[in-house]
């Protein structure tokens, strides 16, 4: 049984708020319309005296829910903190009112009063989340792949005190590194290849009692989610275990050199870089004239469009070693660009000192057999025009293809029934075999790599608790792969620590709320299971959604998707926002004071709006902003509520979508756009203009553009008749 909530409204008049609006009138709104149990005003609420006022009221039980009407929630967060058992909300009447509106104007007062009204119904609706903690969560880390990256992840997780299940499909550990002779330098002075120390890494793994190694093993199935990944293996003994997080380190395959017939791959004496490495490792003396062709089948739309970043350095290493093995050898390297970045430049410099290695820029090389020799002809060389080199051996430096790609894999559905996540599974190698309704493998970014889309957050894959590391994530050399694996192990450890606390991981790190489904009203429409960006919702045979909450990132896209509004969070619900929409004082039709509702994404659009305020730009006073966790959480019920309450226009301001999407919930703003377009039809039927709804993208740096963007829309809306549903 819940106690009746006692709302406290605390209104600050500092920072120019008191010069901009009548704070006493705001207090009256909070008490009368907002039904606050207690309302206080203060000239500096963030000061010691102001905070003490609130703390006393909380301690005495005079209030059980606190609304602070002052500055933005992005500041003073440590000051306005009254413990976990109090509902707390911040009403921003500083950046969004005092700093961006005309002081002492009637519409400014109306705006502030509306925010108080909205804030008071909001805390009434908010409940404190009860954390969801899965039963018997595990802190074991599963590492899939026993090459350099996988072994490094395992060792580092173990060093931090975590148990590891290391699963390797071959009969021995080592992966690709087992095929390497000498490796690239990874420390100063970067001037020579170094010993391949893979054997010592293997020894370290085998000797670590925290690491349980499964050789010759692959996955049979993985069900569950973060904290509760139930893994069963295929390896004779059919082992199974529970893991809390997964590091995916299954590595790469070299691009199939047989496809490079244009470069003579079918001719004798023409080999790929992998085979040449094997020859060097086996101590075979290389022939006298060797030509390396870099970017063989890379940076090439017919083969691999991307660059594999390592092949330049790796080829220089092989050239150097070939010359060591056969001092009579003369090596020619035909390149497009030598991409030895960072400290690898120093190695390039060293290799350039060898008079037996000649390097030239050359485009469109052609390899042919002439008599018993090979010839390589290239364009645009540094010598001008075309040039031909005769060779005994040609080495094609091929690129890296992630192990997650398998062109033979198809999805058994007709094309017109395929969802986006079905298309994501086409061509995906069967590795993880996740028991997820949206498909068994991690959706990738582009080109087959299960990488993160975010520059700032390299481990943010589309499946919670599964972190890619090493060359499966993107092409990289061994020392980078090692470091990458340590990072992935960190993320895995973080995940297994956060799940038993009921917390979600990045980007809403620490959020304890989670979606609750009122299943008695579910119509099994599957929209939530399809639209969840992270595949967090499974399905039963009757297509009822079964949320697996530890997979959830709390973006509330499911809440936005549900056409019957059965999904809600304790502190963020459809009825909460609906109440806020209906709470304002809507002017009469004949007052000619339009009202525009703007939903803003709290990650980009809201900070942009606040920065406009910080820079004292004027924002149109007829707009009321409601921040959302993600534009993907926008439920069409709110649009219906807004229109039926008389709002004249609605703006949806989210982040950029498309190929370079910014949304950390993948499709938030895109989904909002799609949903809004469906509403256009309803609007037309209701004889309301479809131009009353605007969807636009706002980046955090767009704050200068915001005033005009908003003004333009308000002008557009003002040109229409007032919403005839006002006053209904």
């Amino acid at each position: 049984m819940a106690d009746i909530k006692k709302s406290g409204a605390y209104i600050c008049s500092g920072c120019g708020i008191g010069d901009s609006v009548n704070v006493e009138a705001l207090a009256t709104v909070a008490t009368k319309e907002g039904k606050a149990a207690l309302t206080r005003t203060h000239p500096m609420l963030c000061g010691a005296e102001g905070v003490a006022l609130v703390k006393e009221d909380v301690a005495s039980g005079a209030v059980t829910a606190v609304s602070i009407a002052a500055c933005s929630p992005r500041v003073c967060y440590d000051i306005f903190n009254f413990g976990e058992n109090i509902v707390l909300d911040r009403i921003d009447i500083r950046e969004k009112v005092a700093w961006s509106q005309e002081p002492r104007h009637m519409e400014t007062q109306a705006l502030a009063e509306d925010y108080i009204r909205m804030g008071m119904v909001k805390i009434k609706a908010m409940e404190i989340p009860i954390p969801f903690i899965p039963e018997e969560p595990s802190k074991t880390i599963m590492v899939l792949g026993g090459g350099i990256a996988g072994m490094t992840a395992a060792i580092n997780a173990a060093k931090a005190g975590y148990k590891v299940e290391l699963v390797e499909k071959e009969a021995a550990l080592g992966g690709f590194a087992n095929t390497l002779g000498m490796r690239l330098p990874d420390r100063a002075p970067y001037d020579a290849p170094m010993e391949n120390d893979i054997a010592s890494l293997i020894e370290e793994v085998i000797g670590d009692s925290y690491i349980n190694v499964h050789l010759g093993a692959t996955i049979n199935k993985i069900s569950g989610g973060p904290g509760i990944f139930d893994v069963s293996l295929v390896n004779g003994a059919n082992k199974s275990f529970r893991a809390g997080a997964i590091v995916l380190a299954t590595g790469f395959k070299s691009y199939d050199v047989k496809k490079l017939t244009r470069l003579g791959s079918d001719l004798p004496g023409v080999v790929g870089s992998v085979e040449f490495e094997r020859m060097l490792k086996e101590g075979k003396a290389p022939p006298r004239r060797i030509v390396f062709i870099l970017c063989a089948g890379s940076r090439d739309d017919e083969h691999l469009p991307y660059c594999s970043s390592v092949c330049c350095a790796s080829s220089l290493k092989q050239a150097w070693l070939a010359r060591q093995a056969n001092p009579e050898a003369s090596v020619t390297v035909i390149y497009r660009d030598i991409r030895t970045t960072g400290n690898m430049e120093l190695f390039y410099k060293q290799v350039q000192q060898d008079p037996g290695i000649f390097m030239t820029k050359g485009e469109s090389p052609v390899v042919a057999q002439e008599g018993g020799e090979l010839s390589v002809t290239a364009d645009n060389t540094l010598l001008g025009g075309k040039v031909k080199f005769m060779a005994d051996m040609v080495v094609l430096a091929t690129g890296m293809v992630p192990s997650t790609l398998d062109p033979s894999v198809k999805v058994d559905k007709p094309e017109d029934q395929m969802q986006d996540f079905d298309r994501d599974q086409v061509g995906k190698a069967s590795i993880l075999k996740l028991d997820y309704r949206q498909g068994p493998e991690v959706p990738d970014l582009k080109l087959g790599f299960p990488d993160s889309h975010f520059i700032c957050f390299p481990y943010e894959t589309r499946r919670t608790g599964i972190y890619a590391a090493g060359t499966v994530r993107h092409p990289m050399d061994a020392s980078v792969a090692k470091n990458d694996a340590v990072g992935a192990a960190m993320k895995a450890i973080q995940c297994v620590e956060m799940v038993p606390r009921g917390e979600t991981v990045h980007p809403r790190a620490g959020d304890l709320s989670h979606p609750e489904f009122a299943m008695e009203r579910c119509t099994q429409c599957k929209r939530c299971t399809v639209e969840c960006p992270f595949g967090a919702i499974n399905e039963d045979e009757k297509t009822n959604p079964i949320p697996v909450k530890s997979r959830c990132r709390r973006c509330a896209t499911c809440m936005g998707a549900c056409p019957v509004q059965i999904i809600n969070f304790k502190n963020y619900s459809i009825s909460m926002v609906g109440a806020m929409i209906k709470a304002i004082d809507m002017p009469e039709e004949d007052e000619e004071r339009p009202r525009v509702l703007a939903f803003i994404c709290e990650n980009d659009a809201m900070p942009a709006l606040e920065m406009a305020g910080i820079n004292r730009l004027r924002i149109n006073p007829v707009v009321r902003f409601i921040p959302l966790r993600c534009m993907g959480s926008l439920n069409l019920q709110w649009i219906a509520d807004a229109l039926s309450s008389g709002w004249d226009g609605i703006m949806l301001l989210g982040c950029k979508h498309g190929d370079d999407y910014q949304c950390h919930n993948i499709k938030g703003s895109e989904l909002a756009t799609t949903r809004a377009s469906k509403v256009q039809e309803t609007l037309d039927r209701l004889m309301l203009e479809s131009e009353r709804i605007l969807v636009d993208a706002v980046q955090i740096s767009d704050w200068q553009k915001l005033p005009k963007m908003i003004d333009d829309f308000v002008e557009q809306v003002s040109g229409m008749e007032p919403n005839p549903y006002k006053g209904f």
Partner: protein, 415 residues
């Protein structure tokens, strides 16, 4: 033994390392020399290849910081001594007086009355602020600071008179804090290589020759020209812009290594110019165009733009003509002969020099280029990340900072 972690440096690398360790459960002390977090990246307009604003990711990190009481942020601070060993270090941190305390609400009343101006270091000297200033609209912590080098002090005191919150304390003193930690993460970052040392390229003499970091400020909405790229002498829009790659890099006389990001930054700058001025022409003078890995497609898009010209050849010299334009003379290796282009603006793609080169971090060993040596990765409880470790891009820095967090966590574990 404790398991607290000290992170020195509050740029994107330090903030990342601190957050990753704190979210897992550790207490972290994050120390930053400047009055704000964000380091070099929040002074950039956009990141390559997505051309997205650095503020976006940084805002998420600030959000994570707000939600995590385990991180103690100390700005205006430097670690001045560290003693002890892995698992049991003791560090002394000095916090310089900011002369503005936590009561500051950033309302800005003080700025209006301050009589003194200063060169704005956030804007690489391209703009001025008052002696009392807010570092940036996205500054965290969001409060003002006073530059005591130029402030007139208590004899003026105009700011104190108008501050409603008693937030200004002109007598503020330095504070010293001691902390016990198990590991130290050096995330001290970089500074732009001083382009005036490259004698033949005219930086510092020719007004329209600027560095890549200055170009970022020109393109930034909070920069000296509100985001409009303009000639530095007469404020006119540029029609012809040149990027000079490897300016002072891959060069024994300057920085011998490649900074790995400058080619991509120049392609990004070419995008800025072309977007603002559809009739402009951009020349990129390069030695090797380094767009490795998946960045290749970013390069390809630039190649497809007929008004962006990639010319392989080292720039021999830059001279000023009578119209104030910067005339670039370079080899044209593929085309043959020389190329001479009169440009309205020339951007030197200068490299990154690690801060640790001029100020060796406590207990750290640096190599001859000033980067913290690779061997120093955890065994002694001392770790480095970000550009302190090597010349990396943002995505690699955040990746190796995440790794550094785990190394730091390990230092507090006895196994």
């Amino acid at each position: 033994m404790n398991d607290n972690i000290l992170v020195i440096g509050g740029g994107v690398a330090g903030v990342t390392a601190a957050l990753e360790a704190a979210e897992m459960g550790r207490k972290v002390i994050l120390v930053e020399r400047e009055p704000y977090l964000g380091g070099r990246v929040i002074r950039m307009a956009k990141y390559f290849p997505k051309l997205c604003p650095p503020g976006c990711g940084m805002e998420i990190n600030f959000r994570r910081l707000r939600a995590n009481p385990r991180v103690t942020v100390m700005v205006d601070s430097e670690a001045v001594s560290i003693t002890g060993a892995k698992g049991e270090f003791s560090a002394t941190i000095k916090t310089k007086p900011r002369y503005v305390n936590e009561k500051c609400t950033a309302c800005g009343d003080c700025e209006k009355v301050c009589p003194v101006e200063r060169s704005d270091s956030f804007n690489y000297g391209m703009k001025k602020t008052k002696a009392v200033y807010l570092p940036d609209a996205l500054a965290m912590p969001f409060r003002h600071a006073i530059d005591m080098d130029v402030c007139k002090g208590p004899e003026c005191g105009e700011c104190v008179k108008v501050c409603k919150y008693e937030a200004i304390d002109l007598a503020m003193e330095e504070k010293t804090t001691s902390v016990d930690i198990s590991a130290v993460v050096h995330a001290t970052g970089w500074k732009p290589y001083d382009a005036s040392k490259i004698e033949n390229l005219g930086y510092g003499q020719i007004k329209n020759v600027i560095s890549n970091v200055e170009m970022e400020r020109l393109a930034s909405v909070s920069g000296p020209t509100a985001g409009k790229i303009l000639r530095r002498d007469n404020g006119e829009p540029p029609k012809t812009v040149a990027m000079v790659q490897c300016a002072g890099s891959r060069d024994e006389n300057h920085l011998p290594y490649c900074s790995s990001i400058c080619c991509l930054v120049s392609i990004k700058h070419a995008n800025y110019v072309r977007e603002q001025y559809p009739d402009s022409e951009v020349y990129v003078f390069y030695i090797d165009l380094r767009a490795p890995g998946k960045y290749e497609s970013f390069y390809r898009k630039a190649i497809d733009d007929p008004k962006i010209h990639f010319i392989k050849g080292k720039v021999a010299r830059i001279e000023e003509d009578e119209r104030g334009r910067a005339v670039v003379t370079a080899e044209d290796i593929i085309g043959g002969g020389k190329k001479r282009v009169a440009c309205d603006l020339v951007v030197l793609a200068t490299g990154m020099e690690p801060e640790s080169k001029s100020t060796v971090p406590l207990l750290a060993k640096i190599n001859s280029d000033g980067f913290i040596m690779e061997e120093m990765q955890g065994d002694a409880g001392l770790i480095s990340c970000g550009v302190a470790s090597g010349p990396f891009d943002v995505t690699t820095s955040t990746q190796n900072s995440t790794a550094a967090a785990l190394k730091a966590v390990q230092a507090g574990v006895r196994r």
